[in-house]
């Protein structure tokens, strides 16, 4: 981590996931968008995690997040159980079914930021209700970069507060389906242009195993994903991608188009590692050398 790195505050979900993929099954593994984001970003910058868990959240998971230097003062413990998700991936790993969903303590999540998080210049609004995202944003003293995620559910049920939020967003990070639903355009370039018109300063579209594409008023940047022979579990890849992107921007202070492009490649690298094992397991052993090596391999993969 760069000693001059700026701090990131992330608000979102921490969960336990039960995951079936064609390769295997994992039960009650640490998950949630804010978890994957935080772990990935922690390789680049200090992270304040703002989320809620139940009384069942074990010391071992707290310790894992702690060893990555993630500040847990904003991890609220509420009476009840932690958010749980059970999903099954198809042979085509781009498709998954949700088999069970228990919101538990996450249902009443009213994020209140601890003092340290409020000062963070970099904000990542994970996919919670858009009005909550806005109320979180209000609590920051002076955010200089606001990145934001959302999901189809909020686009469908909370479009008004979501559209009200977009003009305060520097970087919206969504997948192609979400970009299409939000914009009403099936063509991804037109969808992105429409989202820029809605006010987001730039939009980064995640395309799973096909990579990602960034649209800003000045520039379009497209990257493939890093190809892997074994994908154990795609869960969290998109959140780790976002964590790598925002983490790099925090580490370097970069806001230029060139900097954002490098950030996206780092995001791609983090996502490629996460899917190499179930849940966030691979991030336990990941090193800075691993990240740098795969960044160079990504150059070799794409240069012409």
């Amino acid at each position: 981590m760069d000693p001059a790195a700026q701090a990131i505050a992330v608000v979102g979900s921490v969960a336990f996931d039960t995951i079936e993929t064609p390769i295997g099954r994992a039960e009650d593994v640490l998950g949630g968008s804010a978890t994957y984001f935080s772990l990935a970003a922690s390789f680049f910058a200090p992270v304040h995690l703002v989320a809620v868990v139940g009384e069942d959240f074990p010391p071992s998971d707290r310790e894992f997040l702690g060893t990555r230097g993630i500040d847990l003062s904003g991890l609220e413990v509420r009476p009840g159980r932690t958010f749980r998700w059970t999903g099954r991936y198809h042979e085509d790993l781009n498709v998954r079914d949700t088999l069970a969903l228990e919101l538990n303590v996450f249902a009443d999540f009213q994020p209140t930021l601890p003092e340290a998080a409020r000062k963070a210049p970099i904000v990542y609004l994970g996919n919670i209700q858009p009005s909550l995202q806005e109320s979180v944003l209000e609590q920051f003293e002076d955010p200089t970069l606001v990145a934001c995620d959302t999901i189809n559910h909020w686009i469908e049920t909370a479009r008004e507060p979501l559209e009200a939020l977009l003009p305060r967003v520097d970087l919206l990070i969504v997948n192609d389906e979400e970009a299409r639903l939000l914009s009403g355009e099936s063509n991804i370039s037109r969808a992105a242009r429409r989202i820029l018109e809605l006010g987001s300063r730039s939009v980064l579209v995640k395309r799973g195993e096909y990579g990602a594409i960034l649209f800003s008023p000045e520039s379009v940047f497209a990257v493939p994903a890093y190809p892997l022979e074994e994908v154990y579990d795609p869960t969290g890849a998109g959140d780790a991608f976002a964590g790598g992107v925002v983490g790099y921007l925090a580490a370097t202070g970069e806001r230029s188009d060139a900097g954002l492009r490098r950030a996206i490649v780092y995001g791609t690298v983090l996502a490629s590692y996460v899917v190499e094992d179930f849940g966030p397991e691979r991030l336990r052993t990941l090193t800075q050398d691993d990240i740098d090596r795969r960044y160079r391999q990504f150059i070799a993969l794409t240069e012409f």
Copy 2:
């Protein structure tokens, strides 16, 4: 076109297509894999087209191909009608339904190469029956580069002759679905490795609007597609892509990994133009400047 360009001979289909897309409809437009390949390749190198048409093939289409310098001495005219295809694209342009298919004179296609074509050092075997592809390959005097396409139908019904052909192929160009079916592997990297084991020297996997990925024993190269706000008609994009790739290799004599990478970007550029209008219309007005400009735009799209 480079004066030192090597000649390409292409064997495949020439057809009339009736196409519906969300943007419009075109009836009985010039189509077929060998047509799109030839037109795209003709911007780079001399092309000998080996195909069959019926007596209904009009002078105007012959003239169009002729103005692109394509040698039609191998375009056999047989009693009957030309191959016809009718298809409809979904709102998601990656999905299309075949509404009607009349093989007509193409059903009994027994390609015999004219003298000029036999001397071509570069061969493109479009998607015809694999035993026919092999019989065509036998007719060449001294081919130095053999590129080959196939489709699910032949993988399912003629796997044996197809597998017998692969060790004679330098570059197999297939889409991801075909790569999966041919290899029995759903992961695209593993699918490609299996195809290399079957004997093809390299395999270039087309992924439609998501780009392409090249696998060889030494190297993997991935590119996104060129993003467009309006796709009128995806028909022929994959064949024009192949035409650009093989055309560039013919123009430059390049066989290095770096050369093949540049060739793939030129293929991407040609594919991106073809989809800007129905059928091969856009290629009537396309110029070398257009190609060079978009090649530079593609660098801007992907560099980091």
